[in-house]
């Protein structure tokens, strides 16, 4: 079958890819090429474009895709930090349930080096790929922090002594454990979300509402509903 209701959907490569493609297949889309060709980016005949998850809000906000799937972590990271700043102008329509991860503050096992740094130096250094979420969390909990943004493996930062703690997304905690890091605080639970361009949400209202209805009717297994403690 061709594009779902004639809509263009931005699909994230990476951890959310399989869950999203399963969902599209459950809606009746022919996903064979999408699954087999991981170099192709634009699948015009099925109305799918693929990209890294953090680019999904960008394409959807600009209207290059009507709908998109991305993690709540990405949406939180790109949302307004303070009033008046203006986050991404997209609608968050549905919690898709899969891709469940927790944003955590972690530090090396043993006496918490972050507490030690706060007590003696007045500030803790925190490495993260999510500088805005990290800064917001530490500000809201009244701690002074120096945020160090890294692009690659965050776990390395505390092991080298560059920082005392990290803020990162974890699904099973395995990578943290393997690097002798333990979770000190859970910040927020994140799952995959369906987002929409605000203009498409009006001009293609019936197509989008019909898709939403079908998504809600899918068996819970296909939507992988998570526990109700997310944001």
């Amino acid at each position: 079958m061709s594009a779902v209701n004639g809509l263009t959907i931005a699909v994230p490569r990476g951890a959310l890819f399989d869950g999203t493609v399963d969902l599209l297949e459950a809606l009746g889309m022919d996903t064979e090429e999408l699954r087999s060709n991981d170099r192709k980016l634009l699948f015009g005949d099925i109305g799918v474009i693929t990209m890294r998850p953090s680019d999904v809000p960008t394409y959807v906000e600009a209207g290059a895709a009507d709908l998109g799937v991305t993690g709540k972590d990405v949406l939180l990271e790109q949302s307004a930090q303070r009033p008046g700043e203006g986050g991404r102008d997209v609608y968050e329509l549905l919690d898709l349930g899969y891709g469940r991860c927790t944003m955590v503050l972690a530090s090396e096992a043993g006496p918490d080096p972050a507490l030690e740094a706060l007590r003696r130096l007045g500030v803790m250094r925190v490495a993260t790929k999510y500088p805005r979420i990290a800064a917001r969390h530490l500000e809201e909990t009244g701690r002074q922090a120096e945020i160090v943004e890294v692009k690659g493996s965050v776990e390395l930062a505390p092991l080298t002594g560059m920082v005392e703690a990290i803020v990162d997304l974890t699904a099973t905690g395995t990578t943290l454990r393997e690097n002798n890091l333990i979770i000190r605080e859970e910040i927020v639970v994140c799952t995959a979300r369906l987002i929409a361009n605000p203009v498409a949400h009006k001009l293609k209202a019936s197509a989008i509402d019909e898709l939403l209805r079908r998504l809600r009717e899918l068996p819970a297994a296909a939507r992988g509903r998570g526990a109700p403690d997310h944001v």
Binding site: L94, A200, K204, A207
Partner: protein
């Protein structure tokens, strides 16, 4: 030599200026023909004066001190300066008053997002004309102006800023829960809205209504078969609809969840959409309380179009390219 200019600002060179000027000349002609006289106001105003308005998201972003130490701001829209003009210069004039403007406004930006710091707005303000007649007039002027520019596929999303608060009131939503729910709606966070409702202790029926109703959008049929508790809240939209000329009415998408992120709107609010662009071209609404804050209590309505966005949409329609051109709902006007 390359000498930089601030991000979000730009030079407009003759080819573009000619096209932009053609658009603004057309708009000016339509506005004048409907009796809207053009005004200029200073780009710099006293912060203490503009602060009388509740701007929310559209707060002035740039402040300077003058030689006496007074704080001046670069205006972030033209509605508030015109409210000042009316209270000051037209304190005793018989309403309604009609003004139009073509003016640069200044907004804060987030880095790396291509947002403009300086944007050219074209708009009207209709002061002293209450709902629903005033609203219908503003919508008619808006459609006539867009038609005159040659924009073909635009639609107008029409909502009511008082609808959701009225609905919460008629459903006896506890006062403490109301700001959070409204905030979710403003942030367009349907997931957050559903979650807050499910945790609020409200009955399932009430929660379902507060989730479902703001997601209703479409033709006038969305105003029909309204649950009893919502009848009152949609009365305003019904009355406007009754007054719309047929060619205006067919452009309108009723959107029960539409809220705008500027604080002073009190009643009808609207956005202009075109499939050639992923963001609204402009919008407006009723601001019946704003003039009172400047000392002349008059109901008012107005809209502003982003001239650059209108230009992009016109160019997109002309080329047949654009973000959302495929697959818009059937029944779109062309």
């Amino acid at each position: 030599m390359i000498h930089p200019i601030p991000s979000g600002t730009r030079d407009v060179l003759p080819d573009e200026t000619r096209e932009v000027r053609a658009i603004t000349d057309i708009l000016r002609g339509v506005f004048e023909r409907h009796g809207y006289g053009e005004v200029y106001t200073p780009a710099l105003e006293y912060e203490s004066v503009l602060a009388r308005a509740d701007m929310a998201e559209a707060q002035p972003a740039y402040r300077v001190f003058d030689e006496t130490g007074a704080v001046l701001v670069l205006r972030s829209d033209m509605t508030v300066p015109i409210a000042r003009v009316v209270a000051t210069r037209y304190a005793t004039s018989e309403p309604p008053l009609r003004f139009c403007y073509f003016a640069h406004c200044y907004r804060g930006v987030r880095p790396q997002r291509g947002q403009p710091r300086e944007l050219l707005q074209a708009g009207i303000e209709l002061i002293g004309a209450p709902a629903p007649q005033g609203t219908a007039e503003a919508l008619a002027v808006l459609c006539h102006a867009l038609d005159a520019t040659g924009l073909k596929d635009y639609r107008i999303g029409l909502g009511d800023a008082s609808l959701f608060p009225a609905l919460m009131a008629s459903l006896n939503v506890p006062d403490a829960a109301r700001p959070g729910l409204l905030e979710s709606l403003v942030l367009r966070d349907v997931v957050g809205l559903e979650r807050t409702l499910s945790e609020s202790g409200l009955s399932a029926d009430t929660a379902a209504l507060l989730t479902e109703l703001p997601q209703r959008r479409g033709g006038p049929e969305v105003l029909l078969d309204m649950p009893a508790q919502a009848q009152e809240a949609v009365t305003g939209l019904r009355r406007v609809h009754e007054l719309l000329e047929p060619d205006v009415a067919e452009r309108v998408i009723f959107d029960l969840g539409l809220v705008r992120n500027i604080g002073y709107y009190t009643g009808a609010v609207f956005d202009v959409y075109d499939p050639a662009l992923g963001a609204p071209i402009g919008g407006g609404g009723r601001y019946d309380e704003l003039l009172g804050r400047f000392g002349r209590r008059l109901p008012a309505v107005g809209f502003a179009l982003g001239v650059d966005r209108l230009h992009i949409a016109l160019a997109g329609e002309e080329r047949g390219t654009g973000a959302l051109l495929a697959g818009a709902d059937a029944g779109s006007v062309s």
